[in-house]
Amino acid sequence: MRLLRLFPDDTKIPFMKWRKYSFMFSGILSVLCFLAYFTLGFNTGIDFQGGTLIEIQTKSGPADLQHIREQLNGLGLGEVQVQEFGAPDDVLIRIVRQEGGDDAQMAVVDKVKGVFGETVDYRRTEVVGPRVSGELAQNGILGIISALAMIMVYVWFRFEWQYSLGAVIATLHDVVLTIGLFAVAQLEFNLSSIASILTIVGYSLNDTVVVYDRIREMRRKYKRMNLLVMLDLSINQTLTRTTNTALTTLIALLALFVFGGEVIRSFTASMLFGVIVGTYSSIFIAAPILIFLDPQLAGDKSAKRADEAEDAEDAAAEKA
């Protein structure tokens, strides 16, 4: 049986040559993400904003969203969002945080139930008070920052600080892009979004560490090889692994996205995006950025100008 290979053996893709473009691409994209974040903002869910979320299912045929909206607006609860949720008879209602304390929030569900009575099935209700929502947001941000910090320490401990910084920059890049996705696509940003960002952080680092691991091994083996060549070689050697792992993960996530139900759709959507970005960043950001951080080249201008092709041949000769 012929086995499936996505790339031929011994690829010599000159990733380092593309670094100018990839840095520029990522830089512009990151700036755009920030812009999107500041102009469009997040579609913050009730977890971080407080408020009420009610999912109902009509008992007789497709729901009349317009009618439901009118009924709810009659309650005078402020801004009310009504949208179809996965199926025509499934409706998601979101109501903004009410003035007043916790009790005012809790009263909302009863008011809504008063409107629909027994004509619908209440699939879920979620009410988050103002105090809790603030804390949830704070904890989320704290979680992401402490994850990055701890991983930085671990990578520093296992590798060198240059790698640690590189890994964190690449991971931050993924976080920024994912945040951009939330802003541009206006996906609901809630507690599970924090979970998805943390998972992306974990995945992206996993990927980066595998590439770094190879670079470290090469550096020990070929002490005098030019850094650019070595980086290229390391990425090429781990390329099949990087893509195969990304593919199996994407397959699993795609199954979740399609069949896993509406409740976790934005969770899986952002993770799908994150895995792609994370894979891209380990190849095009994490490895090339070592050029700026690695001491081998920091003070040695001549090495930078060294003929890459020649060094590559050297490496090939040494290998053989």
Partner: protein, 537 residues
């Protein structure tokens, strides 16, 4: 790397066997486990989260301000009492402001006597056996002009509040236990919150109602000389208050502020029926001291009304027809069977020491839960099938090894979930599916490495040996970084999100285990049997 000692092989196979055994009860109904599954075998099933089996998640905020206000009010009363003792100490301006009760002593000569009496009210709290020093709840601040201030002592207050939370949890537990049916988990969350999770709860409204009431029951004498309408205008005599009725159309009454008795004097309460009217009632029994008090008061006030008050609302106001000396009585207040039952539960369990408010509430209906389980199963199955196909087409025979390891991995994850009684949620299922995607990563790392080594001209056995060895370090480094992120998520997350972190963390650990033991074992057995001249990678 390819040699396995006999005991190692046994250990690996035994782990898998035990895991399989642990899993079996998950496929049985609870009746089958009870009747036909041997009791000496593990009989636990995986705990399904609220989002999968339906139920309610309630986060309560203990109102510490309410507690403080109550304490300060009681302190004010105590101050009045000690100053009234013989010889009387004159004072003015007794009042509460923020965390302080203050008063001004009139007479310079009484300063020391007043301070001495106030010192008895500071309420020393026990620091525990080993603590040695004691902390008082209040501290006294005495000024030259006779102004005396009693303020909460921060350390003492914290200790009291901790106690309040503890007591609240106790009370909630007693209340909920008496409802039967589901078994909610009740735990402290942070400094001043209580989390109640009731999976499978069919009637969340009733649960909320039972938990949320303070249920402070008091008996007051009614003052019929002041009409409620007059009192509503603000003409309430000192020492009396106007209380509304619980019924929407019920009559309010002016009552004496000091209660005759409180719920603490009750020893038992039961729902029942009035033998004449057949109306639901709650009958109660008083403690010995409570009965004595009640007998005294009722004999002194025959003919008057007394109000039975729950959380500052009048349930009923019967007339005292004769002295009540037997230490029991009944409350009738337009109850239904259910409300009578609930009141009896509340009275038996006792009052909450402070008000509770719901800070966060999530309810999932059983319909959505069932749909989520279906969706999760579907996604997991389809995800597995495609990953399996991909691995076989990429790595052939070794792909099959990886797939067997993947199945073992799944068995281990769910077995550990069962043993730890960790909660499986929908994001948790997502965590499992994601783990499957990432689990093959270890195999991919190993196989790619073996392939590389073979292409560099090493013999199959050496290539496999070195492949496993070299890949091992990478696998550890890569997985530990992922583990850090997942562990933080576990630490900070709650509910469904925590469910995701749980399966993700367990998945990473089992993945490392299967990759470096089980897959290696499979490959080793294959190498020994097949003696390959070339590895098909």
């Amino acid at each position: 790397m390819l040699y396995f000692s006999r005991w190692k092989v046994t250990a690996i196979l035994l782990t898998i066997l035990v895991s399989l055994l642990v899993l079996v009860p998950n496929f049985l109904s609870s009746d089958q486990i009870k009747n036909s599954w041997p009791s000496w075998l593990p009989g636990r099933q995986i705990v399904l989260g609220l989002d999968l089996q339906g139920g309610v998640y309630l986060l309560y905020q203990v109102d510490t301000e309410d507690y403080k206000a109550k304490r300060l009010k009681a302190l004010e009363g105590d101050i009045r009492n000690v100053m009234r003792q013989d010889p009387r100490v004159g004072y003015t301006g007794l009042g509460t402001q923020d965390d302080t009760v203050q008063l001004r002593i009139r007479d310079t000569q009484s300063y020391d006597e007043a301070a001495k009496r106030l010192n008895t009210l500071l309420n020393p709290l026990n620091q525990g056996v080993l603590g040695g020093s004691t902390v008082t709840e209040f501290q006294l601040d005495q000024q030259a002009d006779g102004l005396m201030r009693l303020t909460f002592n921060q350390a003492g207050l914290q200790q009291r509040l901790a106690k309040v939370i503890e007591q609240s949890i106790e009370v909630i537990r007693r209340r909920v236990d008496q409802l039967g049916a589901t078994e909610p988990s009740i735990q402290r969350e942070g400094a001043d919150r209580i989390l109640v999770e009731a999976p499978g709860e069919k009637n969340p409204e009733r649960l909320k109602n039972i938990i949320g009431q303070t249920a402070q029951m008091t008996f007051h004498l009614v003052d019929l000389n002041v009409s409620p309408s007059e009192a509503a205008k603000g003409n309430v005599p000192p020492g009396e208050v106007l209380l509304p009725s619980k019924e929407a159309d019920g009559q309010p009454f002016v009552v004496e502020e000091n209660p005759l008795m409180t719920g603490e004097d009750l020893t038992d309460a039961q729902a029942g029926f009035n033998s004449q009217t057949n109306e639901p009632i709650v009958s109660f029994r008083l403690s010995t001291s409570g009965a004595r008090k009640f007998a005294l008061v009722t004999s002194e006030n025959v003919g008057r009304l007394f109000a039975i008050v729950l959380d500052n609302q009048i349930i009923s106001a019967p007339r005292i027809n004769e002295p009540i000396t037997q230490g029991s009585g009944q409350i009738s207040g337009h109850f239904t069977i259910e409300t009578a039952n609930d009141l009896a539960v509340l009275l038996r369990a006792g009052a909450l020491p402070a008000k509770l408010s719901v800070a966060e509430e999530r309810t999932v209906g059983p319909g959505l839960g069932a749909d989520s389980i279906e969706a999760g199963k579907m996604a997991a199955m389809i995800g597995t099938v495609f990953v399996v196909i991909f691995m076989i087409s990429s790595y052939g025979l070794f792909g099959i090894f990886a797939n067997v390891a993947l199945l073992v991995n799944l068995v281990l994850i769910f077995a550990i979930m069962t043993i730890l009684q960790a909660t499986l949620t929908l994001p948790g299922i997502a965590g499992v599916v994601l783990t499957m995607g990432m689990a093959v990563d270890s195999n991919v790392l190993i196989y790619e490495r073996i392939r590389e080594e073979q292409r560099q001209g090493r013999s199959p056995v050496t290539a496999i040996d070195i492949g496993f060895q070299r890949a091992f370090g990478t696998i550890v480094d890569a997985n530990i970084t992922t583990l850090i992120a997942a562990a933080i998520l576990f630490e900070m997350g709650s509910g469904p999100v925590k469910g995701f972190a749980v399966t993700h963390v367990i998945g990473i650990v089992t993945t490392m285990f299967t990759a470096i033991t089980f897959t290696r074992l499979l490959v080793a057995v294959w190498v020994r049997r097949a003696r390959p001249a070339h590895i098909p990678l």
